[in-house]
Symmetry: D2
Subunit: 140 residues, 4 copies
């Protein structure tokens, strides 16, 4: 028995991520987490652009809970970790954390829904993607 | 006895808010809600810029839960409603909704912490602001 | 004979527009100008969302020159002015300024191309829009 | 005699960079170029965060000219090239291009001013930075 595998993705803080409080604006963490999810998909063999254009498949955020513990600052090297905690027919549940070295700066749980990208209606996650996420979830 | 007063703020969807799914990108709702909070403060007599520069006072998002029900699209006229549900010494709890006419597109609960803007540490909400929020909370 | 009419649109600076330099991030001026162009179109009777969805018509920025004179800050009330300086078959040339009271903070010249929104190729500006811009250009 | 050295930095297009036209929003190219400049500085031994916090030194965009040739799309792997074309006492002139493989999608020229980060007034570029840029400019 193994723990769920964690996908790690590095991000660097630039001026466009910060605000007048001299820290990263709270909304930018959602961008960091979006980038990490796109790269997790890429690591599984799926490109978000081709999924939309060729397969009409997209994942949209349905619910998101985030807690901000400590601020990130300009120039920081951050790591976003992503862990798949549940795979259902239409939805995925992911845990994502934004870290700086050993510190957890923010942690989030998201529910994503798979949709038909043209009609914006829920569809079953394609088998090949669902199986890749299930494999991630179970660990290797 | 009256219900808590609701502050409403209109926002319009421009290209910068949308993404390749032809809907508003999930992170932009946080910007719409931030704008609505700044304008609610302004309606109470406080400017976010002067609070930081003159009083070293800022409010940062500590926790945020958001559910996305329906997508907003380019050109939409939206309304952000903000309701103060709890006022404590250092924290505020707010409910915010993003609506299009009678439809609720997204709804969120946020906990905000009052901080010293230079040192990024929690401070008591200044009395004059806390009292304005308490008045809002109780209704008129 | 009169000067070209100027369309003015107010914007307010929120946290999401600022950066760690405690001023508005240089890229956000493009968002302010985009909002002002959308509202100028609306003032002429055209909604950017409906133009894309019903007519497949969009305007994209082809060239942009901008000079930043003074920084805008959190909480500032700004005005974006937009003036149409040239109307051609496929392109428009606009001058836009971002002002705070009497001060010009930034000034830009943009060339916009009209495109078929699905195929991203240049098309003639629809007559009804071109005529509205020409009327603007000539003044009242 | 050698040509000026070019610094290359890869960026990937995620949902937050795109707009309802299914291409990268024109303002996001400024973010890609900002990231590339920060990384060019890092490659020379300077971190934008530490420059501000320890040395009170920042570089702000004074003028920017950009031409958009072809759109970038969701999922694209882009490269931003940066070349220093002139180093003066207070200002730098840079050429930046955003490329996808052999195609130039956008090309820009920027003038950056060195400022005191607390007082937002122009200062001489610190010698150690100016010399690093001059070395870049002359090539190796």
């Amino acid at each position: 028995m193994t723990a769920a595998r964690v996908f790690s993705w590095p991000v660097r803080v630039y001026y466009q991520h910060t605000d007048a409080g001299a820290v990263v604006y709270h909304g930018r963490y959602l961008d960091f987490m979006e980038a990490a999810r796109a790269e997790m998909l890429r690591s599984l063999g799926f490109d978000v652009g081709e999924l939309v254009r060729r397969e009409r498949v997209a994942f949209t955020v349905h619910t998101l809970q985030i807690t901000y513990h400590k601020p990130a600052r300009l120039g920081d090297a951050l790591t976003v970790t992503t862990r798949c905690v549940e795979t259902r027919k239409v939805r995925l549940v992911l845990d994502q954390q934004v870290r700086r070295d050993a510190e957890t700066l923010a942690e989030a749980r998201l529910t994503l829904a798979c949709i038909d990208a043209l009609e914006s209606r829920p569809i079953a996650i394609p088998d090949v993607i669902r199986e890749a996420f299930e494999a991630l979830q179970e660990g290797t």
